[in-house]
Amino acid sequence: MVSRDDVMAALASIPGPDGRASLPDSGALSGVTIRDGKVFVAIAIDPTRAKAMEPMRAEAEAAVRAIPGVAGAVVTLTAEAARAVAGASPGHAHAGHAHESKAPPPVRHGRPSEPLPGVKHIIAVASGKGGVGKSTVACNLAVGLAKLGLAVGVLDADLFGPSMPKLFGLHSKPGLAPDGKRLIPLESVGVKVMSIGFLIDEGAPVVWRGPMVVSALNQLLREVVWGELDVLVVDMPPGTGDTQLTMAQNVPLAGAVIVSTPQDLALIDARRGIAMFNQVKVPLLGVVENMSYFVCPHCGGRTDIFSHGGARKEAEKLGVPFLGEVPLDIAIRANSDEGRPVIASMPDSAQAEALLQIARRVADTLATGATGAKPAPRIRIL
């Protein structure tokens, strides 16, 4: 039987990633597994040096394979521990910063919790309740962030009710990248958008159980050429289920924005959404009160159709920042239905200003680090 010590002895003659300490002493071995005579070794490296590390990997693999009794050897390079180390270094103020590396991960595409290469911050827009205008807010938040000079993408994570094609007025099919595998996101008003709605006919239902949802989400997230993004806005479906859990587990979320109407019925679910993000340690960027009031276009009188101020009060009660109020407004509704986000189509309107204000607050918070955001722990295997 091949033992762990045999593997270590075989690797002892090979210099580790720094070229000096041997692999076993370098601390870069992040995993050694032996099963039925097959040996799996993971070496943690700086992902930007993946190419330069390839000879070391090959050498290690050959050395392990040469051990008598070894039926097969697989040595992989992983960015895992290197990333955790980077997360602990000064200047990396919070968990969301763990994904700043620019180079693609060298191996094992799409592992759990692996950050998206090139994407600095991933934020979720969620509500708890459906129909509160979450997607409209997410769309305008993205356009607003782009207007502030950030590189922005939108991932439509509402697989059962994708709204982004309509809201951005995008109806073509996404192209394939030269690698023949990944999709190229569509683009509108300076925002890259990916939605399952681009891949299926409008009106065709997606009838799936949870595991299908999880795998489709991972594809929409990872098998897409996002390029360099400052922020990826994820439009969540209502509720606290598979999609939310998948997002919370598979990528380090920099924060969540909760959208609610001021009425109690919506606030109950908003509270659930906040509690869920607290449970999975996703910091809250704040609460948006949508459909906050209605100003009659005929008489100018104001009516608080869904009550008013409830979301602000809730945010204060829970110690979460309040991001702003968006009125119930025919221009927002009409422009949204026509695929022209109001921030872009009516930039000087009060409605656009209200939404842009929210985008500014979110951008500021991302720049300084959300309240309660903590750096990812350093993970090591000695």
């Binding site: 895992e80 602990a88 990528v251 340690k281 295997i381 000695l382």
Partner: protein, 95 residues
């Protein structure tokens, strides 16, 4: 809530040491972590379904992967890899 700053598998994967930002440092054996895995494989879907896992005195940790912002997935050398250990759960196991 205390937040982990360092998670280290040591003694050939037999011990997991977790340092928290409140100064606490906890040490858990791989055996303890394995038999108390929060995985449904061990815990079932209710307390009455909980399985008693035995014979894991020599189990070792071979890999640790972060899960979102809130937990780690621990891979053991017996192939068990479905337990997600949240910061709170790790702390609870040590108390």
């Amino acid at each position: 809530m205390a937040w982990p700053t360092d998670i280290t598998a040591m003694e050939k994967g037999r011990v997991l040491e977790v340092a928290f930002d409140d100064g606490a440092v906890i040490r858990l054996t791989a055996e303890r972590l394995r038999v108390e895995s929060p995985s449904a494989e061990v815990q079932g879907h209710s307390p009455s379904q909980k399985k008693i896992v035995t014979g894991k005195e020599n189990v070792a940790i071979v890999a640790i992967e972060p899960v979102g912002n809130y937990a780690i997935k621990i891979v053991f050398d017996d192939g068990h890899d479905t337990g997600l250990y949240s910061w709170d759960y790790l702390r609870k196991l040590a108390s």
